[in-house]
């Protein structure tokens, strides 16, 4: 059993007066690809921000790569959910270049090593051609692929992706998910990737982390995605059907 990349012990996260998650205990082994699912406002983004050290932990303890959250940000690749809209006149190269040691003071030169690292990451998700274009001329999905590439720069040990597949077309969605899965396996990366449609990550992810109503459940797809399991999480009847093709259908008529 590999050493866990992420552990939570009885963790509670709150925003203002509202408790988002409480009593969360889980452990993600190194090299595991975790799909993070749950309803809107269920706490997916809050949990990811807590792992980054951006969201204070109200109670309990989190460790990330064996350290406190935020202690080893250099080894974490992160793709936030809000994509930002500034810099329409700049290119993808400028965008990705701005993040290279962007936390250091000084003039934003891009070194040769930076350029090589960026190109390698762009190639990995087939986004090289996009990087020469102006950001203002890219569609939402195209911009997103650049940001996925950015999260991969330097091959971090832990990848936290917040809805990386949203607003990609179905073919591209599957392609990006499979590429991510392959890269993660090759490099031994641990990935926590939130998504809306569980089917987009079927076959790619090793585990499912489902957060709803302040609770979280981590397990294999078969363990978590059951009618009983999800109904308990939602606190309302939810039906999980498996189509012959292997697709999962989560229906919540009664909600």
């Amino acid at each position: 059993m590999a050493e866990p990349a992420v552990t939570c012990e009885n963790v509670m996260l709150s925003r203002g007066e509202r408790d988002i998650l409480s009593g969360v205990s889980l452990s993600v082994p190194e090299g595991c690809f975790v799909g993070l699912f749950g309803p809107n406002g269920g706490g997916k983004t809050t949990l990811l921000r807590a792992l980054l050290g951006l969201q204070p932990v109200a109670r309990g303890r989190i460790t990330v790569l064996g350290d406190a959250p935020g202690a080893c940000s250099a080894q974490i690749g992160y793709m936030p959910q809000s994509r930002g809209g500034n810099g329409a006149s700049l290119t993808g190269w400028d965008l990705l270049g701005s993040g290279m040691s962007g936390n250091r003071w000084g003039i934003p030169w891009r070194s040769r090593a930076d350029t090589l690292a960026i190109r390698e990451a762009l190639d990995a998700v087939d986004a090289t051609a996009l990087a020469d274009r102006r950001l203002g001329a890219l569609s939402g999905g195209e911009r997103q692929r650049l940001l996925i590439a950015q999260a991969l720069i330097g091959w971090p040990r832990l990848l936290l992706l917040d809805e990386p597949l949203a607003s990609l077309d179905p073919v591209r969605m599957r392609d990006v998910a499979e590429r991510l899965g392959r890269i993660a396996k090759q490099r031994g990366m641990t990935v926590i990737c939130s998504a809306h449609d569980i089917n987009a990550l079927m076959g790619v992810m090793d585990s499912v982390l489902y957060v709803a109503r302040g609770q979280a459940r981590l397990g294999t797809v078969d363990e978590v995605m059951t009618t009983e399991g999800l109904s308990a999480l939602y606190g309302a009847p939810v039906e999980v059907c498996r189509a012959p093709s292997g697709r999962l259908l989560v229906s919540a008529d009664a909600l």
Partner: protein, 262 residues
């Protein structure tokens, strides 16, 4: 026209002002904070008028008010929708106070005119030195801030996750905007600060240059527009600020044509 000392001073002063205003303006446009820059110039006006009223140098009031207000704006940063309303209200209040201060002064007309529309032809040697000093300090500060500021402007959440202090950065930048605004208003007046700050920066963005080239282009365009304004004013006898405004808009439109053919 270089036979006259006041013209040589004016050309010198506009270089210093433009070299800071252009690059700062490039970041203002990138961050979508042009309106904040505009507001700072009005607050600076109130500061200058207030300083003149109590017998201090208007220049001191101008710089102090603009830099302090920039800092305050950064510390109290809110979401965009609220921010525009807040800035608008503070801007109006500042302008109102400025009018009151001028009203209370006996020889207000000439001061008001210089503050509102600039007085580049009346730059003294001491003022030139202080402008040079501010540009040196401001330029140095911007060179230090540039890398994290670019990152935070393009990807605030990612920058935050990598340990960039967004609020501190935004506050320092707005203080820098305050200094650049106060400098620019020496040449164009507070009402036309946009022409030297936002105009060249926006034109550089339109040209579609990468960040460092864009920042350089903004500085060069600002110098060219300021000098062009001085020369045209010499030949035509129209005010300098008028010509700088015309050049600023003209260059912006031209940049759009270049961008389309590129």
């Amino acid at each position: 026209m270089f036979a006259y000392d006041f013209m040589r001073m004016a050309f010198g002063a506009s270089v210093f002002v433009a070299l800071l205003a252009g690059p700062v303006g490039w970041f203002l446009v990138l961050r979508g904070q042009s309106f904040a820059g505009h507001a700072l110039s009005h607050i600076a006006f109130a500061g200058a008028a207030g300083a003149a009223l109590v017998g201090w140098s208007p220049l001191t009031g101008l710089f102090a008010a603009a830099i302090l207000a920039g800092g305050a704006m950064g510390v109290l940063d809110r979401q965009t929708a609220q921010r525009d309303v807040a800035i608008g209200l503070v801007l109006s209040l500042a302008m109102g106070c400025g009018v009151l201060f001028l009203h209370l002064m006996t020889r207000s007309a000439s001061i008001a005119n210089a503050l509102l529309f600039g007085n580049v032809l009346g730059v003294s040697r001491a003022m030139l030195a202080s402008l040079a000093g501010f540009t040196l300090i401001g330029g140095g500060a911007l060179a230090l801030l540039a890398r994290p500021l670019l990152f935070a402007s393009l990807q605030p959440e990612l920058a935050e996750a990598r340990g960039v202090n967004i609020r501190l950065l935004s506050t320092l930048f707005l203080m820098l905007v305050g200094a650049a605004t106060a400098e620019s208003s020496q040449i164009t007046g507070v009402l036309l600060v946009f022409t030297l700050m936002v105009g060249p920066g926006a034109s550089a963005h339109r040209l579609g240059l990468s960040p460092l080239a864009g920042i350089g282009a903004a500085a060069l365009l600002a110098v060219a527009e300021a000098w062009g304004g001085l020369a045209l004013s010499w030949w035509t006898d129209a005010p300098v600020s008028f010509w700088i405004a015309v050049l600023s808009v003209g260059v912006f439109l031209l940049a759009g044509v270049f961008n389309r053919t590129a």
